[in-house]
């Protein structure tokens, strides 16, 4: 008896047998807006991310991150209870500089209101963040809490999607289990085409941009 697999593959081979198989496309055009020098791309990233309803604060040093988070949460009238990625870069931030924050690290739990994660890259083309799963960056933190705060170094801002993937390939030998391009907070327009920000994923996406310094 032929298996379903063989049957399907055989029928595909038969269907493709007589045809003149087209070669892989030689080019994948990249939009001009994904190109430009770094300063231009940083500006474009900020504009596009804001357009997608993400918030942005800029800091000069990684040591300023806790204060920036604290200020953002206060401005939004949110409690200072944050769940951070168990990533050494985040765990070593000077959290004591923002005493109103209560910080714990790990995967997201059902009622964690705010997550703080690193973003692997920022993509200027559409103001998009690239995040990925891993022991230091549990994926639930990107989707479950109502507020997601992403930390991004301007050094990690690139032009187009391809550039972010190139960085990812350079960094990891094996593709992380899950890679997500995040553009703004979650939304739906399923009811009468009216855009509602905040559905199952985060209601708020806030990006803390660190100028010229790694997270």
């Amino acid at each position: 008896m032929t298996t379903a697999r063989d049957d399907i593959l055989n029928r595909i081979r038969r269907a493709n047998g007589g045809i003149d198989r087209k070669n892989a496309p030689t080019s994948h055009p990249v939009p001009a807006r994904a190109l430009g020098d770094h300063a231009v791309l940083v500006g474009r990233f900020i504009d596009m991310a804001r357009e997608a309803a993400a918030g942005i604060s800029r800091v000069n040093h990684r040591s300023d991150i806790p204060m920036a988070i604290s200020a953002f949460l206060a401005a939004e009238n949110l409690a200072g209870e944050i769940r951070i990625s168990p990533d050494p870069r985040l765990e070593t931030l000077p959290w004591e500089s923002a005493p109103d924050l209560s910080v714990s690290a790990g995967r997201a739990r059902a009622d964690d209101p705010v997550s703080v994660t690193p973003a692997f890259a920022g993509i200027a083309e559409t103001g998009t963040l690239m995040v990925h799963s891993g022991p230091d960056t549990p994926n639930t933190l990107h989707f479950l809490p109502e507020t997601h705060i992403a930390l991004l170094s301007t050094e990690a801002i690139v032009g187009g999607y391809e550039d972010a993937w190139a960085r990812l390939r350079a960094r990891f030998e094996r593709l992380p289990r899950s890679v997500t391009l995040i553009t703004g907070p979650s939304r739906s327009s399923d009811i009468e085409r009216k855009v509602q920000i905040g559905v199952h994923g985060p209601r708020r996406l806030h990006i803390v941009l660190i100028d010229g310094e790694e997270i």
Binding site: A15, S178, L181, I182, G198, G201
Partner: protein, 469 residues
Amino acid sequence: MRSTSDRFPENAARALGDPTLRAALSRLQQDTRVGRPAILDRLPEFNAIRDAASDIRTHGLDHLDVHLEIFERNVQENGGHVHWCRTGDDACAAIHEICRARGAKLIVKGKSMVSEEIALNDYLLAQDLEVVETDLGEYILQLRGETPSHVVMPAIHLTQDGVSQTFRDHHDDLDAGRDLDEARNLTDEARDKLRGKFLAADIGITGANFLVAETGTAVIVTNEGNGDLTQTLPPVHIVLASIEKIIPTITDALSLIRVLARSATGQEITCYTTFATGPRRDGDLDGPEEFHVVLLDNGRADLLGGEFRDILRCIRCGACQSVCPVYGAIGGHAYGWVYGGPIGAVLTPAFIGLEGARDLPEASSLCGACADVCPVKIPIPDLLRRWRRRSHGQKLSPPRARWGLALWAWFASRPELYRPAARIAMAILHWAGGRQGRLHRLPFARGWTVSRDFPAPEGGTFMDQWRAK
């Protein structure tokens, strides 16, 4: 899914008589008219990327067998499982078996048109499993017992009032005083209801927008984040996808992503585009323990070998639906099966047989708006003509129409008979048009005069007058 495509004329008549539906559809068409050019204006390279997108899909199909095997190997190497299924029933059974092995009770689902195609929910519910749709639109439809009427905007046929009534009818614990007059509140109500389901679910089922061969990755795009919760929280993630979703590389996916959301919803990109490769890795604190890909054929390998091959390039963006004036008049349900609009008019006869869907390829003015917007350049009007050719060849069209056409052709290919006959016919019509110059009723052309006057001929044919000059 059971089809009512054989009752298309009745379905369409009902839709045309539904003012709520008409209002919803005209809002969609209006938004599309404004939104599409606005978003494309910002991407001058759109047409070049669209050409590449079309080539990527063509290349993928031309080498589908090769890429499927590469995909399978990569999924397995990453610790996932691939289930090959010839039919919808096979796919339902494969999914049920995965659930059974886990002793699963609760399943959350992301949006998947393929699951509609194979009636997966009905199958699983019949096995005493609880299945919950998590896309907001799909969730509303599940409560109402309806099917999607658009491939990316499933509940486009509903109004806000309709949705709030649905929640009042189905959410037993709903406080009578709760204000559901705003779309915002409705969204929150659904979010609250579904949170618990995500957290308690044993299995998450998603579709896939693309399957990437080189990495064994399933790509899904969503706006709501439901797809990501579905594939991250439950211990098992099942991807249900049809075989033609295969593309060779991640780079190919990126080109397709550039045209997908712009065509589908007029966004630059959706909020979430996730590339999922296998189950949770060593050291991971979250993510599914099992990763399954259920690969469905359901007739596609056969389509590949025939004159409808081009339709397999489709990336289900729904642009052809949003722009189609026929869809805009009657909506998706009138088409009577899973896929409405132009894409449905091509696919439905292939899936359920031309006899039961004969009207669908006919019910088009062949205006070509669909082909104009299709991001993978599927020549939809040509494909519709191919179905018409089959209908004609199999004598499925009504005898009266066939006879009318034959009679016309008989005369038209005999100018020496055509001219005098035309002269007489036009003289009669001209006379019948009388002082008004038009006819309100024409016994042999009721199809015209039910809703239109018939402009009478000016009198005398051009050919006669030209000769007389």
